[in-house]
Amino acid sequence: MRRMPKVPRRGRNPEQGLARAEVLRDLISDVLIELSVRRGRTMLVLAAVALSTGALIASVGVSQTAAQQIGADIAATTLDEISVGVRPGGADQEDAPAEPAPVPTGEDGEPVEGFIDGPDRPAVGTAPTTVFPDDAEARAMAIDLVDAAGRQLTVTGLPGVDVTRTDDVPDERSGLVIRGAMPGYLDAARLDVPDERAWLLRGDEPVVFLGSAAADQLGVPMTEDPTGYQVWIDGQRYAVVGFLAGSGAAAGPASRGATLGEDAVMAPGAAIVVIPYQRALSMRGSDADATMLVRTAPGAGVAVGHVLREAIRPDAPERLEASQVQSLDSLRDGVSTQLGRLAAGIGAFLAVLTALLIASSMVASVVARTGEIGLRRALGASRRDVALVFLGEGAVVGVLGGLAGGALALVLVVGAAAINGWSALTPVWMVAVGPALGGAIGVVSATYPAVRAGRISPAIAVRAD
């Protein structure tokens, strides 16, 4: 029986239609056999990949942890502002008005119909509910290293409280903040008023200081002496006694008063109207939303923060809460970026080194396997098939090495943090990035050996002589 088969074109023969997945499986098992056959070399390359990816990832991880720590250290050492507020929900009888306003009753003793209990604003003459003692500023200033302290209470948004130039014609205004403040508050917020007139805020006088935007909106010219200019707030005449100057500072962290615009930046140019604290307190009827801004000597913020509440309310420090003002984020970011760049540079260097190492080891392997490559070509393997075996080897070694490297990095970062007493930053990416990075290094470094393997002439490779 004689056969004269014609070799069919690719694709016409069902035997040719081996699923892509099966081809891949063949490739992988081929690669794995090859790697396990050359166990010693594989372990060496794996170790190199693990070390370099581990070092790369760890250097980034440690630098991030360190940057976070350094940032925290810098923040702690340069912190000089503290904001003290009233802890919500802590009102007790002692602080309540001594005599609650009696509910009006009719002749038969029944409450008068239509009387709303708990009015928005207390009746005139009712003593406000307070948590801060009257001498809160003096108590805070008594602490060493406190440079300035003062309460503020924003009244913007209270029903009926508005500010106009005249009592009858409401002007168009937008975003004006009305804030009651103690003189020490301006100081703590790094604001000045002319001729040392800040003391005017200490009392109960109807006076205002204006930020320049507020003066602009209210049509008050910013002359040296604003005597004679008046604004109306809450149906009362207030004398304009000066304008805000100085560098200004963030008025503390956003707090419960944020809805009242309390988080607005206190700057000389702000649209802000400053009135005596006592007046604002009378309007609000409570200092539940008041905060005290405390400025300390540089770096004393943390220490002062620990004793501040006790100093202000020794009887009930838990009624207050102190928060430190974070204004150094930008500095911390700078540190993080610099360390990150350094780490990335070292990491890139290590990655290149590893890639070269893998490449040279693979080129040696290609040369050693010349005969095998020739045989594979003779058996019908294409250049691509041959190249893929080496690329596959690079990928597998890279991914496995990177996996080990990621684990190594995790250990290094946690270890470095433990030794330095830092809180470790060990994000999940650290584990995931190892195999990805290692795989990329492996494939890149296998590219040249793979191409070289594909170029080997089968005719020469299979020669016995």
Binding site: M1, M4, V7, D30, G374, L379, G380, S457, P458, V462
Partner: protein, 223 residues
């Protein structure tokens, strides 16, 4: 149809050596052809050209009726995969792999589905008498066993042509006989067998021997 038909094949190596200088050769299915000649005569060059491992410089070479000179590389790879079986002097057994794994390399290269592999491997090993060595490492085989494995690999995908370069060069008389018997079996199945040899017994065994000298056939020696 002839299994292979070469016309005026030449091969000039980059250094200027004219290893083939106009070779004509026809081999029919089931025919056993021996190519003999002194060392350096161009035998391996001819076999590499016939095996599509190397491109002739000029001439025509039809494999199963298909012109291969100037064919793109993918198609040449494909023809090697499907139509040809090689047996070299060095058996080129992968020493670190088992006998079965050596055969798997060929089947995977030929994209034979996994399910079909074990029976094919078993059949091939049975034909060459290596079934009992199925799981032995290639490096542990004797010279004769290695060459039998190489033949098992060559016949695994039922090629139309078997090309062998000094297949018995490293073998003793007994093993040489085994190889010849295996080739006989293939020839009976219709496979064209082309063998390069120094071995007089192989030359005598072939249906036809041709003598290559300085890249040309000098005379045919019909049996």
């Amino acid at each position: 149809m002839t299994a292979l038909r070469a016309r005026a094949l030449t091969r000039t190596y980059p250094g200027g050596v004219e290893a083939l200088r106009g070779v004509d050769l026809d081999v029919e299915p089931g025919e056993r052809v021996a190519i003999v000649g002194r060392s350096g005569a161009g035998k391996s060059t001819l076999l590499n050209a016939l095996g599509l491992l190397d491109e002739p410089t000029s001439g025509s070479y039809r494999l199963l009726g298909e012109e291969t000179v100037g064919l793109d590389e993918r198609r040449r790879d494909h023809l090697r995969r499907r139509a040809l079986g090689f047996v070299f002097q060095d058996a080129h057994v992968l020493g670190q792999r088992t006998v079965a794994e050596n055969l798997t390399v060929k089947l995977a290269t030929s994209r034979v589905p996994r399910a079909e592999r074990p029976p094919r491997i078993a059949d091939s090993l049975a034909r060459v008498g290596l079934s009992h060595r199925r799981d032995a490492a290639g490096r542990l085989l004797s010279g004769g066993e290695k060459q039998r494995l190489a033949i098992a690999r060559a016949i695994l995908t039922s090629p139309a042509v078997i090309l062998a370069d000094e297949p018995t060069g490293n073998l003793d008389g007994v093993n040489s006989q085994v190889v010849r018997d295996l080739f006989d079996e293939q020839a009976r199945d219709g496979v064209a067998v082309v063998v390069i040899t120094h071995d007089d017994r192989v030359a005598a065994w072939a249906d036809r021997s041709v003598i290559l000298q300085d890249g040309q056939f000098t005379e045919a020696m019909p049996q």
